[in-house]
């Protein structure tokens, strides 16, 4: 495969992952009240 294909693929995966991470982080902030009483263990 052309090396440019790998470059484009890497950029697309990184961009999509970053977009999901931003959206997910916002969702966590919005869900703060709903999850505040849930148990979270540390390890």
């Amino acid at each position: 495969m052309n090396e440019k294909v790998y470059t484009s693929l890497t950029r697309i995966v990184l961009a999509v992952a970053l977009a999901i991470a931003v959206a997910g982080s916002l969702a966590f902030v919005l869900l703060e009240k709903a999850i505040q009483n849930m148990p979270f263990s540390d390890f």
């Binding site: 992952a17 959206a23 969702a27 148990p39 390890f43």
Partner: protein, 577 residues
């Protein structure tokens, strides 16, 4: 720990690694002069070799391995020393920068321990101390978590075994050795990152920038290991760096050489035997190289060697009894209640300056069309970040939606992927010294990196200089060790109570990979009243004690205080005997 103790421990580490390191040095090309990279690789190969050979023997007996080691090591030293002198000459280019970074990175990590007389280690050391001590107490690899819980040990014990061996021979406590090994991993990883960056960028400035950023600026996955005590992660990721180095070297071979081509498989096996999560990280890296890089030879070698390593590790584990992991349904592997992590928290945990320079490095590589060799770094970074995003956001939010807002767990501890991401990100920092616009201002960039390193190390040091534990906890633990019967159960928790007193407690520190959702442990966690614990202890014929944050006069009804100091009381359930 005194200076003499430190020298004794260093000598014992050398004693443990020597036969395997010497074997590596003799396997390399004789015509090449010995440089610091050879010594570094020999040292890390020594760790891998020790784990591979010692683990199957210690599944029978630690004493047996000590005898075998002495029988092999002493003659090997006598035979090899003159040969080493005859065959090797020191290279004129010794890479002193890498040697200095190794030493400094080790000392920076050691510094927080020095003001404390007896540091038992960060959070996860609560169970690593127990596992390493269990090897010494039982003279073999522990099969279960007894006396703390009747569940099987799934955790790989390669690193614990090295610490136990050094502890036995240096006569130092196992927690001291584990913490020293953690500091050593930081130094060795920083130096290996230097040589890996040198191989990828073919530029000394880039290598120095990468090593400096890992050794002194990165927090999670580097300096922060000291706080959370992630020894197996740090050791196995050091071995993963060695795996990548050896795969790249195997791909550079001019002639077909099956033995050298398959050498990384031994490192891969050592990774599997040291830390299961890092083994996953290794396969994730190999998968990322296959999908996201044009490096066909590297992908083929990585895949073959990682699979061969997995097979070898399974054979070694099988030789010691049934394979671990059959109770995965009772573990927290796929139902892990970790606190949700936002992107902002990811950046802060990495250390913001490190996040800025490393992301700038990745962007510099991307802007330059990802040069062929550097596609390894972008694939490594992308693979780990995409896996983190999937587990932390997609999996977690899917669970929340499917469970109708009842659950918010994740799987496979995604925060560990952020720790593992520190390695490829550090390597990417080197790109800033190679590509414009920063490349024109290398001197200023070096000054900025050094300033960030100094500030980060100072803040890291200060963050670990707290009040030195809970007041009264040491006295309470010592009292429990001296006065509580060995088969009693202690309700409540103090840091390192289980390791220091070797008494069973109501909430033993057991990692997510173990069957900690076993019905017995779930029952223990559900009991909250003194009456429930009283009935539980009576039904098993045990004595039951409580350890509480309370004065002797304010203990709850049903308990009798036997010891009190610094606001911590140890009580017996019922009347005093």
């Amino acid at each position: 720990m005194s200076f003499v103790d430190g020298i004794r421990m260093a000598a014992c580490f050398l004693y443990a690694l020597t036969p395997y390191s010497a074997l590596y040095l003799f396997s390399r090309r004789k015509e090449k002069a010995l440089d610091f990279e050879d010594i570094l690789l020999a040292c890390i190969w020594g760790i891998a070799g020790f784990i591979l050979v010692a683990l199957p023997i210690v599944s029978v007996s630690l004493n047996l391995y000590s005898i075998v080691h002495a029988a092999v090591c002493v003659p090997a030293l006598v035979w090899l020393t003159p040969a080493l002198r005859r065959h090797f000459c020191i290279a004129s280019r010794f890479h002193w920068a890498a040697a200095a970074i190794l030493l400094l990175a080790f000392l920076v990590r050691l510094a927080p321990f020095l003001p404390h007389d007896n540091w038992f280690g960060g959070g996860d050391m609560r169970f690593h101390n127990i596992l390493a001590e269990s090897i010494i107490v039982g003279d073999a690899l522990p099969r279960t978590w007894e006396p703390f819980a009747e569940i099987a040990v799934n955790y790989p014990l390669g690193g614990h075994l090295l610490a136990a061996f050094v502890s036995v021979h240096s006569l130092l406590p196992v927690h001291t050795v584990l913490n020293a090994l953690l500091c050593l991993c930081g130094g060795l990883s920083s130096a290996l990152i230097y040589f890996l960056a040198l191989r990828l960028f073919e530029n000394k400035s880039a290598a120095t920038a990468s090593a400096l950023s890992y050794g002194f600026i990165a927090l999670v996955g580097s300096l922060d290991y000291i706080r959370w005590g992630g020894l197996p992660n740090a050791l196995a990721m050091l071995l993963l760096l060695l795996f990548v180095t050896e795969v790249l070297k195997a791909c550079e071979l001019e002639e077909a050489d099956v033995l050298r081509s398959m050498a990384p498989a031994l490192v891969a096996a050592a990774i599997v035997l040291t830390h299961h999560y890092s083994a996953l990280a290794m396969f994730l890296l190999v998968g990322s190289i296959i999908i996201l890089t044009p490096l066909r030879a590297v992908a083929k070698s990585g895949l073959m060697n990682s699979l061969a390593g997995l097979l070898l590790a399974l054979l070694i584990l099988r030789s010691g009894g049934p394979l671990p992991g059959s109770d995965v349904g009772k573990t927290s592997v796929f139902m892990f209640y970790e606190h949700p992590i936002t992107l902002r928290e990811v950046l802060v945990s990495m250390n913001l300056p490190f996040a800025v320079v490393s992301i700038a490095g990745v962007c510099a590589i991307l802007r330059n069309g990802i040069p062929r060799k550097l596609s390894l770094l972008t694939a490594w970074t992308t693979g780990y970040f995409a896996a983190f995003v999937f587990l932390e956001y997609i999996y977690r939010l899917a669970v929340f939606i499917i469970s109708d807002g009842q659950h918010f767990f994740t799987a496979l501890t995604p925060s560990r992927l952020i720790a593992d991401l520190a390695y490829p990100l550090s390597l990417s920092v080197g790109a800033l010294t190679v590509y414009n616009p920063v490349a024109r201002y290398r001197t200023y960039f070096a000054a900025v990196l050094c300033s960030l390193g100094l500030t980060s190390c100072l803040l890291f040091f200060l963050s670990l200089q707290g009040p030195g534990g809970i007041p009264g906890s040491s006295a309470a633990i010592e009292w429990i060790s001296a006065n509580v019967p060995e088969d009693a159960i202690v309700v409540g928790s103090l840091p390192h109570l289980e390791y220091r007193s070797w008494r069973r407690t109501s909430s033993p520190p057991i990692p997510a990979s173990e069957a900690r959702n076993h019905p017995e442990l779930l029952r223990q966690r559900s009991m909250t009243s003194v009456a429930q614990w009283h009935a539980y202890a009576e039904s098993r014929g045990l004595e039951c004690y409580y350890v509480l944050s309370a004065d002797a006069h304010s203990v709850p009804p049903g308990l009798t205080a036997l010891h009190s100091s610094g606001g911590i009381s140890v009580c017996i359930v019922g009347a005093a005997p």
